[in-house]
């Protein structure tokens, strides 16, 4: 209910917003805001891991979850900014999925408390959280295989009176709502290029199509916060672009997005904010550009990569320098921590990408004229120490 009121408000204001955004001073929360172009600061105060946000939708405090000996999640403080797209990144096993599970009530932490829209939600069951407007997808895609794609979609819709046993027998009561739901589903299925599949069993979909279906289905709930666990894994690159646009557009509809992703290009494309996890902790936060230069992030990713000699400080500095200079550097899934070869050594394009030549010569050759200050990656020298505590 409150959601529809919200988005309506939003639409009313949109006309005025273009005029206003020019002089919006960021702290004025009530000014008409077009969330697509809103450039008011996300953070209050200094940017640091666990920093305060101007308008948080989720606040987590001291959330801890351990499995046996290891701390899968050990988050001191985290705020997710409202009406923004936040990326949660980190190497495999960093605890991203576990944090999702904890926030959405699919797992119980050992300790901690967290809020959604100012309400304490620790111990609130997962289905109630979904009703409150916090909907997630799963890394291991969950579709209802023996239901058709359309039925999967309809299942996502809220406020269907026919889902109550007392009213289920009477189609007169729920038939009308069912039509609305179906229309809503048709629109989404078309956006996600699944409209031709709508009468097929979901089990007949390919892995990528299932990802799409799961995401479309979660939007049927009309959530306030969408939490996507690796939404692009296995989705074909041609579709990725249009999907990225869909995700961006969710913001225009007043939604907040939190997503886990290993593909740094995607993160760079759509994220307003990036949170980096490693070994259960938040090690860095910031706008995508800055975060990727953050030594703590490089450390987290390279730390998981055995091919690189971390003992060699010279090597790290050089890597940072290259990362800093090169926008196309890839720090992602299989390539975690490996710099895209073609950007480092243009001549090597087409050479074996999986075994990049990280020898000092290879790194230096093209870099000689570009990065003038290898130190610029360490813009805030004080921070490294703080991250490590």
């Amino acid at each position: 209910m409150s959601h529809s009121a919200h988005s309506m408000n939003n639409a009313d204001r949109n006309t005025a917003s273009t005029v206003k955004t020019a002089n919006t001073n960021g702290n004025d929360k009530d000014a008409g805001i077009n969330y697509m172009t809103d450039s008011s600061p996300i953070v209050v105060g200094e940017i640091a891991p666990g920093c305060k946000k101007r308008d948080p939708i989720v606040v987590a405090e001291n959330v801890r979850r351990s499995f046996g000996g290891i701390n899968a999640v050990d988050v001191d403080y985290l705020e997710i900014p409202r009406h923004k797209i936040t990326a949660l990144i980190g190497p495999n096993g960093a605890g991203k999925t576990t944090l999702f599970n904890l926030l959405t009530g699919f797992d119980t932490p050992n300790s901690g408390k967290w809020q959604f829209e100012g309400k304490n939600i620790e111990g609130v069951s997962s289905f109630k959280l979904a009703r409150m407007g916090m909907v997630r997808t799963f890394q291991l895609t969950k579709v209802m295989g023996k239901l058709t794609v359309m039925e999967n979609m309809r299942l996502g819709a809220a406020n269907q009176p026919g889902e109550r046993l007392s009213k289920a027998l009477f189609k007169g009561i729920w038939g009308g709502r069912e039509k609305e739901i179906t229309a809503q589903a048709d629109v989404l299925l078309e956006k996600f290029k699944l409209d031709v599949k709508k009468d097929d069993y979901a089990a007949s979909l390919s892995g990528g199509q299932r990802k799409l279906l799961e995401m479309a289905r979660s939007l049927m709930v009309r959530p306030k916060l969408v939490m996507l666990d690796e939404p692009m894994a296995g989705v074909n690159p041609a579709l990725t672009q249009s999907l990225l646009d869909h995700i961006k557009n969710l913001k225009a509809e007043g939604m907040t997005v939190l997503f886990v992703e290993h593909d740094m290009n995607m993160v760079r494309h759509i994220a307003d904010w990036v949170v980096v996890m490693a070994e259960g902790k938040i090690v860095a936060e910031g706008p995508p550009r800055d975060v990727m230069k953050d030594p703590a992030v490089i450390d987290a990713y390279l730390g998981a990569h055995h091919d690189v000699d971390l003992g060699d400080t010279e090597g790290i500095k050089e890597l940072e320098a290259v990362l800093e200079a090169d926008e196309e550097s890839v720090v992602g899934t299989e390539n975690a921590g490996i710099i895209a070869v073609e950007s480092v050594v243009p001549d090597l394009k087409g050479a074996d990408l999986k075994q990049p030549d990280l020898s000092p010569e290879a790194l230096q050759e093209p870099g000689d004229d570009e990065p003038n200050s290898p130190q610029s990656g360490l813009a805030e020298p004080g921070r490294t120490d703080k991250d490590k505590e």
Partner: protein, 322 residues
């Protein structure tokens, strides 16, 4: 061999009240397992609760028929709640273990000697069907070769089957049924969409259990007696056989499955007895023949699973993804 007799007795089984009872109970299992993914291995327990609930309230408390019916439905709902509360939050297999045990517990309780006054112990209870037959609108006479009592119980039994099938069909095509099917496929996904999975599972468990209780009454009324021996674990497995024969996530499947089950039992029995009497088979006694036919049912079930695993009515396409 008297083929006329063989086929007439097989046809008689087709619409016998026992077949109706099996159809109802198997329909309950379809609601449980076919539509909701709940593994209930204690449907015989639900039938016993229904039958004893009816018999005890009639005999010990002297209530009229419809009150007894209501009590029996309430008892089975309570039984479902009792089984569901601790297990429905856990994985599916826990419910299976608990139901199989609970059905046995019910059977042992009604057999205990301390309760003989109420439950009649191993002999069971009898003479509680008066209220039911008092409502018989059919005057005495012959109805398709049956007396008016036999005809009445068939009309009521199969009428009930039809009504229950229609209700289950209406429920399963509704959004409520859709949520149930979603739960069967992946309950966490359904949970993530804001549905109270636990409540849905409980509702399904109760509905299937009440169908079991109704089946218990239809089973017991024409016999005029309720005995614990009738509600053993094998009854549950016969019901599962009916369900598998017909097709699990279907409404007509359990009904047709029950019919097939009883017709096959009747045919094999008559044929074997005929062969033994005529001297064609000498290596088998009639007692052994009675047991052999259950073996044959097992073989039939195996063949079915191999050649038509979705059951008679099941959807082959769904099975492609199993």
């Amino acid at each position: 061999m008297d083929y006329g007799f063989v086929f007439s007795s097989a046809a008689g089984e087709l619409f016998s009240p026992t077949t109706a009872a099996y159809a109802l109970a198997a329909l309950g299992l379809a609601v449980h397992f076919g539509y909701s993914g709940l593994l209930n291995f204690g449907q015989a327990g639900f039938m016993a609760v229904g039958a004893y609930g009816f018999a005890i309230s009639t005999l010990s408390f002297g209530v009229p028929f419809f009150v007894a019916l209501l009590i029996s439905i309430l008892c089975s709902s309570l039984f479902a709640l009792l089984l569901g509360i601790p297990t429905l939050r856990l994985r599916a297999d826990y419910l299976a273990i608990v139901t199989i045990a609970a059905a046995e517990i019910v059977r042992y309780i009604v057999t205990t000697n301390q309760l003989t006054k109420v439950t009649g112990s191993a002999n069971g209870l009898a003479a509680f069907e008066g209220g039911f037959y008092a409502m018989n609108p059919f005057p005495e006479g012959s109805y398709m070769g049956m007396n008016n009592r036999d005809f009445f119980i068939r009309v009521i039994g199969w009428g009930l089957v039809v009504v229950c099938c229609v209700i289950v069909w209406l429920l399963m095509r509704s959004p409520w049924g859709r949520v149930l099917k979603g739960i069967r496929e992946d309950e966490n996904a359904v949970r993530s969409l804001g549905k109270n999975v636990y409540a849905y599972k409980m509702q399904a468990l109760i509905i299937g259990g009440v169908l079991g209780a109704l089946a218990g009454m239809v089973f017991t009324l024409p016999r005029g007696a309720v005995q614990p021996a009738n509600y053993g674990t094998e009854l549950t497995f016969f019901l599962w056989t009916c369900l598998l024969l017909g097709g699990m996530a279907t409404v007509l499947g359990p009904v047709i499955g029950a019919m097939i089950f009883w017709v096959v039992l009747s045919l094999t029995q008559s044929v074997l007895y005929g062969l033994i009497e005529s001297g064609a088979v000498t290596w088998l006694t009639t007692v052994q023949a009675g047991q052999l036919r259950y073996i044959l049912v097992g073989v039939a079930l195996m063949l079915l699973m191999i050649f038509r695993p979705q059951g008679v009515f099941g959807n082959k396409k769904e099975l492609a993804f199993a």
